[in-house]
Symmetry: C2
Subunit: 350 residues, 2 copies
């Protein structure tokens, strides 16, 4: 077929030529099906040695075109700049490779259009599976995937058109809020109007569940919830900063305890405190829904919710391996609360 290397890439035809064999024989040897095709061991060895000598590399584009499968598994994820999501991406890649799959991760900035466009591109490359992590509109993505017959699994945020693995956001938020209330008590400070919630999107499942946990914890403690102390302003840093600016401009005294919904928002909160000479970080008890090893140093009074990335990804691949998950499955994984300044806050591996 070719006179050996046109563009530097060796094909099975080049090898066939050198080995005086047919391309299909070479192909069978290269993809490991040669035994079932009754190629003699002698021939297989010869071909293998020629192939490695010539530096053959299977063209996965061609292979994928002919077979049904690309062995690529795609994942979209909001960002890498957060310990929670970066751990998910790392473990996902590791586990995918352990199964002979090629991971294709792409971060989509919590932007619904970018999410859709990215998934469409992944489908265009004919990925075998898609994992949607923290997708803003999981159902739209599930619909896209269905059209292509590609199974999709939701992670972190649930969808109604596909199976989902998420944290128990309600319980985590409930416990975190109780922890903050208990800190206020320990500091001999009033609970009333002294606990602020910042960050997250009000219409998103995780945030609304966390808000529910926050509210119920307050209610169960007999503390009134002040509507203007619930700032679901979005996750972005600058949104948290703006929200705090507005709150303080409104004349509110800054509460002595703050529930921050994600490390992303926490960055904004920290920046805001540093920018305000009239505010002291050490006067505040922080609770953050998400964990970061260094955020445990913000002050001596930080609580963090650590979502169980290891268990979540284990379940994810369990589902992927078995493939027989129902569309309606939603699995909630318990997060754990860690106290900053505690050893265990630093000890958990990811």
């Amino acid at each position: 077929m070719s006179l050996e290397k046109k563009d530097g890439n060796v094909t099975i035809y080049d090898i066939a030529h050198r080995a005086e064999a047919s391309a299909s024989t070479v192909g069978a040897v290269m993809n490991g099906t040669w035994k079932s095709r009754r190629i003699s061991e002698k021939r297989a060895e010869l071909i293998l040695s020629i192939a490695s000598e010539m530096g053959y590399s299977r063209n996965m584009q061609a292979s994928a075109l002919r077979r049904e499968r690309t062995h690529i598994i795609g994942m979209i994820i909001p960002m890498y700049n957060s310990r929670y999501f970066s751990s998910i991406a790392q473990r996902f890649e590791h586990e995918a490779r352990a199964r002979g799959l090629f991971p294709m991760v792409s971060c989509t900035s919590r932007d619904p259009e970018l999410e859709q466009a990215t998934v469409e591109q992944m489908l265009s490359y004919r990925v075998d599976q898609i994992v949607c992590t923290g997708a803003t509109d999981p159902d739209a993505i599930a619909t896209l995937c269905e059209k292509h017959g590609v199974p999709a699994i939701n992670l972190d945020l649930p969808g109604s058109r596909g199976p989902s693995i998420i944290s128990d956001n309600y319980q985590g938020a409930y416990d975190l809020t109780r922890g903050l209330l208990s800190r206020l008590r320990a500091r001999d400070l009033p609970s009333e109007a002294n606990l602020l919630f910042v960050g997250g999107r009000p219409k998103e499942h995780n945030t609304s569940e966390r808000v529910r946990g926050f509210r119920n914890a307050l209610k169960d403690a007999g503390v009134a919830q002040e509507p203007d102390l619930l700032l679901t302003c979005g996750y972005a840093r600058h949104k948290a900063i703006n929200a705090l600016d507005e709150l303080s401009a409104s004349g509110r005294r800054m509460p002595a305890a703050i529930f921050v919904n994600s490390t992303e928002s926490l960055e904004g909160v920290m920046r805001w405190f540093r920018s305000r000479a009239d505010q002291n970080i050490n006067d505040v008890s922080f609770g953050c829904f998400d964990w970061d090893p260094f955020a445990t140093f913000i002050n001596s009074d930080v609580l963090m919710v650590r979502q169980n990335v290891v268990e979540m990804t284990d379940i994810l691949f369990n589902w992927i391996d078995n493939g027989n998950v129902k569309h309606t499955d939603v699995l909630e994984v318990q997060p754990t609360i860690v106290k900053a300044a505690s050893l265990e806050a630093m000890m958990i591996e990811d």
Copy 2:
């Protein structure tokens, strides 16, 4: 060709059938070359509307097989769990997409074998370009890429067989060391035997340059460098922990200033301090080669080297866009030193 959808994926043949046109006409319309192929506007519009109605999605495997290019640009990177690398990955994806390229990022855990295997897989998928970030053996990877005629660019760590964009590690380390010495002076503490270097790999370019900067700063300040206070034990957390354990077991008093080579190692150092009741984090001035927004809270005396990810990726894509970079090019980008507890330490965006 097909009786419309075998597996749910619409092809140009299906559309051709419905539009009563040839597949090549449909193909030309779908990939935008229809004007040069003199397809009438009427036909093009009809085909486009049918295509969107049928939910056509171009099969990139087939397209890539036929054309030379896949429009995929690969990147390997050591990890995502570090602000420096995660920022690089995020910006890389963003810039790649802005150019119509599909980014394929994969983290390879500073494991040479995994790096090679991953690059081979990427080459197997016929990526158009590869960016090697922090590769442990950039030249081996460059050799692989050369064989396939795929251009490779090194980022963060330089290689001799391809162009490289790196930080000015020497200068950053020199300045950081001077900063630490100045902190010791400000604290009225002796400089002699009071400054420790932890983390990194001695044979790796970045670490050796940083060590050189560290040593020269000591020398220029007239301070003797104690060999056992130079612990290039690797980057991993547990390696830093072990190194500190050994140091303290040797009877050395813990120095009052520590140069930590990466946030990864810094995590280990922090864990070590938390695990030791006889050590107080607040007695130590920290300098970290790398930046993390929350690490600035470790104590009130932290200096961080912030590598200029924005400029580095800008140059990277400048090179990619122009493509005429010499193999010997090594571009050094200046990092900046930020003081923790300063506002600017929180203000720089990535």
